[in-house]
């Protein structure tokens, strides 16, 4: 029942001469929440950017190895990169609402596809905001500026924005790092619900969050994948000493 959704084979990544990822090998299973932990500059964010090829936009970015999403090598020349990015939605660490209304933020990606039918968009907005746990708070002010929302609300808006495109994967890069505990809890709850329909990759520098939410956890250190296993195993019986040291706070 554990279907392999993404297979990463010997993935290395370079920014110019600097190597940021070193021969990563891992599998991501469908409908799981994979947590990725590790200190700063370990390559966690770079890893996500490789999965949806957002790294292509950075001059000097180079990839070796293969990434197979649903069996397809995403770096082969015939791949539609734009469609790939819709398939693997990403939520960034700092919530970035576009300078538009809440409504327009959510349908931004949908409008890019040329779908402008008002009824369809209305439905998408309600559906996405519900799934992100934000609908009740903003349903009366959909056409006001998104910049007026609080930090936690903005981040949930960003999640809804991604959901509007019906992705298959949701990647979150330290999504709650600047948020208060209540917003954090709300988002973690949404993730547990969303897991049923999506495959979720959660990068976090808060190890306790990974312990709370992730099914499996991967530990990245300086561009290497040190270990990856079921979350309880990683946290109680880590196979690698470095993992243990990090979890115990001996460095970080």
């Amino acid at each position: 029942m554990k279907q392999v959704a993404i297979r990463v084979e010997n993935l290395s990544h370079f920014y110019g001469n600097h190597q940021s990822l070193k021969k990563i090998n891992l599998e991501i299973y469908r409908n799981e929440i994979l947590g990725i932990i590790g200190p700063a500059k370990s390559g966690k964010s770079t890893f996500l950017a490789c999965l949806n090829r957002l790294n292509d936009l950075i001059p000097g970015s180079r990839v070796e190895g293969r990434i197979l999403v649903d069996g397809e090598d995403i770096y082969s020349p015939e791949v539609d990169v734009v469609a790939l990015r819709r398939k693997l939605g990403i939520v960034f660490a700092t919530p970035v609402p576009l300078p538009l209304t809440i409504y327009e933020n959510i349908v931004y990606g949908v409008r890019l596809l040329g779908r402008n039918n008002r009824k369809e968009l209305d439905w998408i907005v309600e559906d996405s905001l519900e799934k992100a746990g934000l609908w009740n708070e903003v349903k009366d002010r959909l056409h006001t500026s998104a910049l007026k929302l609080s930090g936690g609300q903005q981040q949930r808006l960003c999640i809804a924005r991604v959901l509007a495109l019906k992705p298959e994967y949701i990647m979150l890069d330290e999504p709650t790092s600047g948020l208060d505990p209540i917003s954090t809890m709300k988002i973690e709850d949404s993730l547990r619900t969303l897991k049923k329909d999506y495959t979720i990759i959660l990068v976090t520098n808060n190890t306790k969050q990974a312990a709370r939410v992730a099914d499996r956890t991967a530990f990245f250190l300086m561009g290497e994948l040190v270990e990856i296993d079921e979350t309880p195993v990683v946290f109680t019986r880590p196979a690698d000493k470095r993992t243990e040291d990090y979890l115990l706070g001996r460095f970080g």
């Binding site: 957002l54 469609a83 819709r86 939605g89 970035v96 300078p99 596809l113």
Partner: protein
């Protein structure tokens, strides 16, 4: 004996206050003179009738039309060229020595005295290309004169758009052009429009370039190839040749008021821009 700091400060404050008053009063004086002598000249007739008797009688309608036509052509050419270049330089290229050189070149050219553009326009458009003294020659020369400014202000406005917006747009599946038209340009628009509007102000007041490319014929322009006199040129000739002081003041008043309105509009646009950012 050293004066005490407090005494020194009092003294300096008086001096500064005096200098500031001189500066402000002088600038206001210039406006006041123009308005005092020029506004009485302003009437519907002044604005809607053509000059007669070499400008001693009548109004300034033909010059208004010439000014608008020239400015319109200048911006028609310079705006797409300038904004397009700015978009290409900021969104489609990587910062490199080439782009730095281009930017430096544009900044230099923005500071080149207008008379040199006039020289260039005279030789190229009026003579070599055979357009003669015309609205077309004048408009094209003005276009090149304001082009560096439009490129520079557009570039600054586009660069001021937060990089995160572009990243978000891409992550939601947009192409580069879609991110430019749907996120970057709308955000940068006030800044870009400000640059364009300031160029309008500059074109309206420009005299040297216009005399040498559009000529000074005192008649209503009938086509792109008509030679015609703009308000600024008309004012210059009336004043220098002593043709008619009242009419000169009137023309100056119209000129100054138009430019002031344009600058005020620009100012409010900038305020809205800044307020939207925060």
């Amino acid at each position: 004996m050293r004066t005490s700091p407090k005494v020194e400060q009092k003294f300096i404050q008086v001096v500064l206050y005096a200098f500031t008053s001189i500066a402000i009063i002088t600038l206001i004086f210039i406006l006041a003179v123009i308005f005092k002598n020029g506004i009485p000249q302003l009437s519907l007739e002044f604005l809607t009738r053509n000059p007669a008797d070499m400008g001693r009688e009548g109004g300034i309608l033909s010059t208004i039309v010439a000014t608008i036509s020239l400015t319109f052509i200048a911006l028609l050419v310079a705006t797409p060229l300038g904004v397009g270049t700015a978009i290409y330089l900021t969104e489609y290229t990587v910062e490199s020595r080439v782009t730095r050189i281009i930017r430096f070149g544009a900044e230099c050219l923005a500071g080149i005295p207008s008379i040199i553009f006039g020289l260039f326009g005279f030789i190229l458009f009026v003579n070599k290309l055979g357009f003669g003294w015309s609205i077309l020659s004048g408009g094209l020369t003005l276009a090149f004169m304001v082009l560096p400014t439009i490129i520079r202000t557009s570039e600054e406005a586009i660069k001021a758009v937060p990089h995160a917006y572009r990243l978000v747009s891409f992550s939601l599946g947009s192409t580069r052009w879609q991110s430019v038209t749907r996120v970057v340009l709308p955000s940068a628009l006030p800044g870009i429009v400000t640059g364009v509007i300031l160029s309008i102000g500059r074109s309206i007041g420009e005299t040297a370039v216009v005399i040498f490319t559009a000529g000074s014929a005192l008649r209503m322009p009938t086509s792109l190839f008509s030679s015609s006199r703009t308000m600024a040129v008309h004012f210059y000739i009336l004043a220098k040749e002593g043709v008619s002081m009242p009419k000169a003041y009137g023309t100056a008043a119209v000129l100054v008021i138009s430019i002031l309105i344009i600058n005020i509009v620009t100012y409010y646009l900038m305020e809205k821009y800044i307020r939207r950012k925060s």
